[in-house]
């Protein structure tokens, strides 16, 4: 019964992961990260349902809180990078290296 939810969760996670790896636009990468987080949330909620307790749901709330905070900080960084370099490509921002 819950297997479908888990499969969906896995698919969403895979799509998100591939998006992070393949796309260059920081906004899209950012959205893919959100997708992965939400795929995880779905898996947590599914397992909570399957096991008949609330722990997974509680964790899902924590993930949402963290995701919200991440959006605030992450978007601010992306906007600042865009303003200074006129580009939102993650590959262009590669100064922090060896």
């Amino acid at each position: 019964m819950t297997a479908h939810y888990l499969v969906l969760s896995g698919l969403l996670f895979a799509i998100g992961a591939m998006g992070v790896l393949i796309r260059r636009n920081a906004i899209v990468v950012f959205m893919c990260v959100e997708l992965m987080l939400n795929a995880c949330n779905l898996a947590f909620v599914t397992f909570a349902r399957q096991n008949g307790n609330l722990e997974g749901q509680i964790i899902a709330f924590f993930v949402m809180v963290v995701a919200a905070a991440e959006v605030v900080v992450g978007l601010a960084i992306i906007v600042t990078i865009f303003r200074t370099r006129r580009s939102a490509s993650v590959d262009d921002a590669n100064l922090l290296k060896y």
């Binding site: 790896l21 990468v29 590669n94 290296k97 060896y98």
Partner: protein, 635 residues
């Protein structure tokens, strides 16, 4: 033979009770001059002379007091303080042997001090020179007066230090600095022998005191006594410049001339003879291996020194060769046991006078000749320096053993005793005397006779009174002292409480076979020297010379031998060590560091700066981790 008398503890006061003043005066002089430094420049030399003379006065008073005691009482031990608890007490031994040395050291030493006032008058560092002279005298006095080997060793090292400072006094000359270092290093080899000998003494008997050692030495096993004796001989060889440690002496001429006189006549080189005589208990019985070794070393050195003296054109080096040779005679005498001790010490004392006389005379000649030392640039000086000439001639006659002068009695005594004990060594000594006759005559003819061969700017003149008076005093000693000491065995009887004496007192033969042979050989040597250097013209440039001359000029290749045997292997050893250090130890450390550095340099390339690369590595890592967890879970 009769053995030495027991040492008695000194109780009553008197001068013997304060005999430490002998050492304290010159030590105080050295301390004042060194600590106050330039402030004492104006009167420093006077203080130095005064301290040396004060020490001489104390020595004379102690000598007189000792003369007043009976023979059994003539070994007085003066306890000063506990030096190393349970090991060694600092004390002085006032006996005929030590007081004879003290008189020689302070007497001749004071004359050299006085002479130095004139000789060093133009040197800006005259005050420093006198402080070192005082230090030298103090150290030498401690050496001969101490009643145990620890005190002797401190004096021994003090003498080494003072000689280093004085030989290298003009240290701005590289040759002087090198000569000082050489003297110091060669002396260390001898010190090694003395030290190890002392270690064995301590482990075998548990004492360093002369008094107890002479009692216990008899109960030691023969090999141990031989070992101690040979090690002490090594020490004596170092200080007294005997073969094979003779190489420093000729280079030591780099110091100012009064230093040479002090080293060669009154102090330093006599220390080895003193050590052997004082340690008589370890060279007993006469004819034992170690005593024979002393005699052989002496005989070999007296020939080597004489041969070297024949070829030197530098007047001081010629005299240095003769010192080596004369100390060889003393060693030969000291190797013959109580029968030879008195002659060895007698020769040491008379040699102290005539050699100081000649060294100071050589200094006087140099003083008048713009510090020229090459005898080929002298000639005909007898008219220009009459006092120097006469005193030098007296010293010369004394050293070649001209009948009735000092050297005649003491040297002849050694030769005759040696012939009695050991024919071979005795006749070698006779031959040595003949060579002495040659090279000393050569020196006289080249310096005072013949044609002028001076440098153009030379204006020879007689030295000031302050320099000639010591010469006159020393030459008087060179005339009379030997006969006084040796005839009717005065010195032997005087020394007997300290060193023992043979049962039968020797009588001095004026016409013994070895004595006549010596005189004949000396005459032959002198005439040959006159033919070559007196009658014939002396070339101003050193001729090439035969193989033998070159051999002697190069100090019998002693330096070359040392260089190839010790210095070169030593350098190879250090080179190997340096190579191992650079390539081996440094290689490992540097290689490790380079390896880590190189690896991390390559590893950091992983840090590309592309966020997506990092994301991929995180993903792969997470996948691997998950896979691993699954795998473990399944097992």
């Amino acid at each position: 033979m009769e053995s030495p008398v027991e040492i008695v503890q000194h109780t009553a006061g008197g001068v013997i009770g304060v005999s430490w003043l002998m050492i304290a005066f010159p030590l105080l002089g050295a301390a004042i001059l060194l600590i106050l430094g330039r402030k004492t420049d104006r009167w420093g030399h006077l203080l130095g002379v005064a301290m040396s003379l004060a020490s001489f006065v104390v020595a004379v008073l102690a000598f007189v007091e000792l003369l007043g005691l009976s023979a059994e009482q003539r070994r007085q031990a003066v306890h000063l303080y506990e030096f190393i608890p349970g090991m060694a007490d600092m004390g002085l031994l006032i006996d005929p042997l030590s007081i004879s040395f003290a008189l020689l050291i302070t007497g001749v030493g004071s004359l050299i001090h006085i002479y130095s006032i004139g000789y060093m008058s133009h040197d800006p560092d005259r005050r420093r020179f006198f402080s070192y002279l005082n230090l030298f005298v103090a150290a030498m006095l401690l050496l001969v007066l101490a009643d145990n080997y620890v005190g002797l060793f401190i004096g021994w090292e003090g003498v080494g230090l003072a000689s280093y400072l004085l030989i290298g006094f003009w240290q701005f000359k590289p040759s002087a600095a090198v000569a000082a270092k050489k003297a110091f290093v060669v002396n260390r080899v001898g010190d090694f022998g003395l030290l190890v000998g002392m270690f064995i003494m301590w482990s075998a008997t548990g004492t360093f005191a002369f008094a107890e050692l002479s009692e216990k030495a008899g109960s030691l096993s023969q090999p141990m006594v031989t070992a101690i004796g040979l090690l002490l001989l090594l020490g004596a060889c170092g200080k007294s410049a005997q073969l094979p440690l003779q190489s420093w002496l000729l280079d030591a001429m780099e110091g100012p001339t009064p230093v040479s006189a002090l080293i060669h006549a009154a102090t330093m080189v006599t220390a080895g003879v003193y050590l052997v005589v004082r340690s008589g208990a370890f060279f007993f019985p006469e004819g034992s291996a170690q005593a024979l070794a002393v005699a052989i070393v002496g005989a070999a050195t007296l020939l080597a020194g004489a041969i070297i003296g024949c070829a030197k054109d530098d007047i001081k080096k010629g005299l240095a060769g003769s010192t080596m040779s004369q100390i060889g005679y003393m060693m030969l005498g000291a190797g013959l046991g109580p029968a030879g001790y008195a002659f060895a010490i007698g020769h040491l004392i008379t040699h102290g006078f005539f050699k100081a006389d000649m060294f100071l005379g050589a200094g006087s000649v140099m003083h008048g000749m713009n510090d020229e030392v090459d005898m080929r640039k002298y000639g005909a000086l007898r008219k220009y320096m009459p006092i120097t000439f006469v005193t030098f001639i007296i010293g010369y006659l004394a050293i070649i053993g001209f009948p009735l002068l000092s050297g005649y009695f003491t040297k002849d005594g050694i030769i005759e005793t040696a012939v009695e004990h050991n024919q071979v060594l005795g006749w070698l000594a006779v031959i040595g005397a003949g060579i002495t006759g040659f090279y000393m005559s050569r020196m006289i003819f080249m310096t005072f006779f013949g044609e002028k061969r001076w440098a153009e700017d030379a204006h020879p003149h007689e030295s000031p009174t302050v320099m000639t008076v010591p010469l006159i005093v020393l030459s008087i000693g060179s005339i009379f002292l030997g006969g006084y000491l040796i005839l009717s065995n005065r010195l032997m009887l005087w020394l007997a409480p300290a060193v023992g004496r043979p049962e039968e007192l020797p009588t001095f033969h004026f016409a013994s076979t070895p004595g006549l042979a010596t005189l004949a050989l000396v005459a032959v040597g002198a005439v040959y020297a006159w033919m070559k250097y007196g009658r014939a013209e002396v070339p101003a440039v050193q001729p090439r010379g035969s193989f033998l001359t070159t051999f002697a000029r190069r100090d019998l290749y002693g330096d070359a031998l040392n260089e190839s045997l010790f210095m070169r292997p030593g350098q190879w050893l250090t080179r190997i060590a340096v190579f191992f250090d650079n390539r081996g130890i440094d290689g490992v450390v540097n290689g490790l560091a380079a390896g880590i550095g190189g690896t991390s340099g390559r590893l950091r390339r992983i840090q590309t700066g592309f966020a997506r690369t990092y994301a991929l590595s995180i993903l792969i890592g997470a996948a691997l981790l998950t896979g691993a967890l699954l795998l473990v879970g399944n097992i």
